[in-house]
Symmetry: C2
Subunit: 322 residues, 2 copies
């Protein structure tokens, strides 16, 4: 094999492994959520991008089940020619090397909205992006991802459990990562138009992670695998523990108010959502992230020192949970 | 009086007349809506901008009344020093003349969401913007506004009535205006991420209207007065006629699905909403535009040729109603 052939074979294998990873994770997480639910099965929609655009996705949605009011676990594997517009949106310089080249992106993305206001909403996303030059040689590759929790009522032990799981996973590869990713997460999921209220109690978030002299691409792949699989240990026990707590209309009302904030964040601020909608992604797959029933009331404020206010305060003032 | 003094007196008077107009219109429209409702009164919040920023507003909100589930009729009168950032956001050149100058903006804005799915949601907004040079001389002034209707079920006679009212008002000043403003409206209130579905059946919309050799500022002021006052004739009879039609949970369900599209438009696309939120406007006043209860379902499609589909089709393919 020539060097060029070997390089192409290796990157093709790497892509293939990443795609296997996201499909396997999608299967595993859907099964784990179906087991918690005990009734419903995810429905599946396979979609292709419009003619002339490469790739598509596998959207799996659960609605009105026992435990989950609405949720999705989606994968997409998409690619195309590099255009000026794409580089603008990605904020990358159009270097000579990648003119006439191509791009590839594959990821898994999920948002789960439970019925019971004592079970938190959860979101995760792990993705890999690659650029190729006109000869098909890899020119750039980066990773991004994260998982964050949005409770409606605060159980401190749940917050500690959730964060501990991701700290442990990150620590196995590098102890510097969790504090950094936890901070990134608190800085990212912010409703700046609401006094910097966070949408929940955070988790981990990272982006634009590239191979360098310290870490190769395999390092970031392993991290995504660890955190992606970590979802099950981080979230499922919380859902199991809280899914049968009796709740009132008042609890549901507060959940719907907070879901309003979730909608505001996703539609006003979330880069992934806006990037997807503005570059012709599949709207129904992107907006599966929105909760089923939502409430917007003028100037709604929970009573001081109520359980609702306790949650609001940790959204306004993020805490270190571990 | 010197020319300079006279100019300043005239612009001050003009500003004063505009402010009187929006306050009077706010009173008149709140009374008309309270009369339709028969029960509730608007509650009023007066607010000031943060220290060092000039002006404030008068927010009037109605919630959970007989006819109206949520609505607001807001005025604001705000001003400040001209900054680079402001001109960037307004996409205006920073000419020497207005460096060190000031700006002034005053407007009225309203969104009304009725309970009954057979009563349409309605929105209007009329605003005037002025720039002054460092000597306090008027350097620029423009007007914008519009009124649009968002039904959940289509009554063709209502659509014709609504559009006819604004056509008549526009025609009294210039017959060229209505077709242009109707087209602007159809082009503006569009969910581009939903196959260019409009949020409703439109109305009129205009922006950046300045005095020129054909029309003076008084012309645009008169138009805003005509259209602003026209709201009462355009909307109130529709609300009266439809407010007692019996409806089912299925009708309410469809209304909440469509309200989801309203939220999507306002948070993803509406320039006014995003401008307000990103330049530190009062969030609760801006987001009073969001409906009280909203529903997002994965891939929801009304049955072909149903009443719901009939509405959807005119949102996808705007019609000429007069």
């Amino acid at each position: 094999m020539t060097d060029v052939t070997q390089h192409k074979t290796e990157t093709k294998e790497f892509r293939g492994q990443w795609i296997d990873f996201i499909y396997n994770l999608q299967d595993k997480i859907c099964k784990a959520l179906e087991a918690v639910d005990g009734k419903a099965k995810f429905i599946e929609d396979e979609w292709q991008r419009a003619e002339g655009k490469g790739g598509g996705g596998l959207t799996r949605v659960i609605q009105n089940s026992n435990v989950f009011e609405k949720g999705g676990v989606n994968t997409s594997v998409v690619y195309g020619r590099i255009t000026d517009k794409l580089l603008q949106v990605l904020k990358l310089p159009f270097t000579g090397g990648i003119k006439g080249g191509s791009w590839f992106a594959a990821g898994i993305s999920s948002v789960i909205h439970p019925f019971n206001p004592f079970v938190p909403t959860v979101h995760f996303n792990y993705r890999m992006f690659e650029l190729y030059d006109k000869d098909g040689m890899l020119a750039d590759r980066w990773f991004g991802g994260g998982t964050d929790l949005t409770p409606y009522y605060l159980f401190e032990e749940d917050a500690i459990h959730f964060h501990s799981t991701f700290k442990q996973t990150c620590d196995t590869v590098d102890e510097k990562l969790y504090p950094l990713f936890k901070h990134n997460c608190d800085e990212y999921f912010v409703n700046t138009h609401r006094n910097n209220e966070r949408r929940g109690i955070g988790g981990i978030f990272y982006d634009h992670k590239r191979a360098d002299e310290h870490q190769d691409a395999g390092f970031w792949f392993n991290l995504a695998q660890g955190c992606g699989n970590g979802f099950i240990n981080a979230y499922i026990p919380i859902a199991e523990k809280r899914k049968n707590i009796p709740f009132t209309e008042a609890h549901k009302h507060w959940q719907e108010i907070r879901r309003g904030r979730y909608v505001e964040f996703n539609l006003i601020h979330d880069r992934g959502t806006l990037f997807g909608l503005k570059t012709g992604g599949r709207t129904e797959s992107i907006l599966m992230s929105l909760p089923a029933t939502v409430r917007f009331e003028y100037n709604y404020q929970p009573a001081k020192d109520s359980e609702e206010d306790k949650l609001l305060q940790v959204c306004l003032h993020p805490k270190d949970w571990v």
